[in-house]
Subunit: 205 residues, 2 copies
Amino acid sequence: MNNKKIPEIIIGRLPIYLRALQHTAENGIKTISSQELGELVGISAAQIRKDISQFGEFGKQGTGYSIEFLINKLCEILKVNQTWDVIVVGAGDLGHALAHYQGFKDRGFRVVAIFDNNKNKVGQTIGSFKVEDAAEMSERIRSLGVKIAVMTVPASAAQEVADVLVQAGIRSILNYAPVNVNVPSYVKVQYSDPATNLQKMTYYL
Amino acid sequence: MNNKKIPEIIIGRLPIYLRALQHTAENGIKTISSQELGELVGISAAQIRKDISQFGEFGKQGTGYSIEFLINKLCEILKVNQTWDVIVVGAGDLGHALAHYQGFKDRGFRVVAIFDNNKNKVGQTIGSFKVEDAAEMSERIRSLGVKIAVMTVPASAAQEVADVLVQAGIRSILNYAPVNVNVPSYVKVQYSDPATNLQKMTYYL
């Protein structure tokens, strides 16, 4: 892999390819063409070939991609050939659900702590976790060395929480709060506000 | 508004503008420039002006946009100047959280039913809902006339559930299952798998 800058939109498609390849591999299939992968993910074969070729020549004309090889390559590119520690901020219903979300394991992530600033929630048990006091979050992020946070806090608290997270060393934020947050350019934010996601579809109804 | 086809990527940005405008309005602010809105949402002022001008000339040179007017216009374009009924399929942790998610109200949505195929879950109470039997889902979708579904089912069940939903009249699916589903082109799907969202950021760590 060379060091040219890969557009963010391409990086954003790689996890979708990876997910489809992993499902296909579970069915015992060994190779896949860009056409077949394209049908699974709803993206054109030409786009897939172009995206993947950014990182090297992994496919063979006529036989397609080795699924195992491509999975390993995508895991390496996306750095999910390791397990990342994740914290959850906000112990409401959504925070609860994400703290023991079963879909993180085998995808490169493990929740290690959950925080809230509500004294009634601090100390509550969620699966194998005790909700920790948000006042101690900075110190815990530093001592755990964690880089990834999931925010399920109210909109009114989101910017303040994001500032604390970034200051403590968080570099990736999955934000369920219904508000944009301002962070330095070296921090990535993915937005996942349920109502906004629904509003992207009502236009078509 | 004329009938030209608006690119999906523009429609996808409108809910983000709307959310920022609604937050700004809550602070008693009456007008906003494209520069100010751009800073709130992390999108260039030129892009915002271009996106909004697809639907008419709503801003005034020098004074910017009337926030109230633009909110009403965006709600009308996105058809969230009404309340849409929504069903949740899958009464696991995430389904529970979404069934009584407080962020839907005032954004155009109201959950009206939650379904599961697990007989141990059917009949359970979640807030003001009783979990209903997925076997009765088609009939309930038809009698409720609901067009929007949130899917929080396992990957292995997602395609089958999506087929049932589409057959019964669902036209928008917010899919939390970690798998792509094939649906007819007149059905919109938004993907919101937490692990995939995290994998879009690890490349940059």
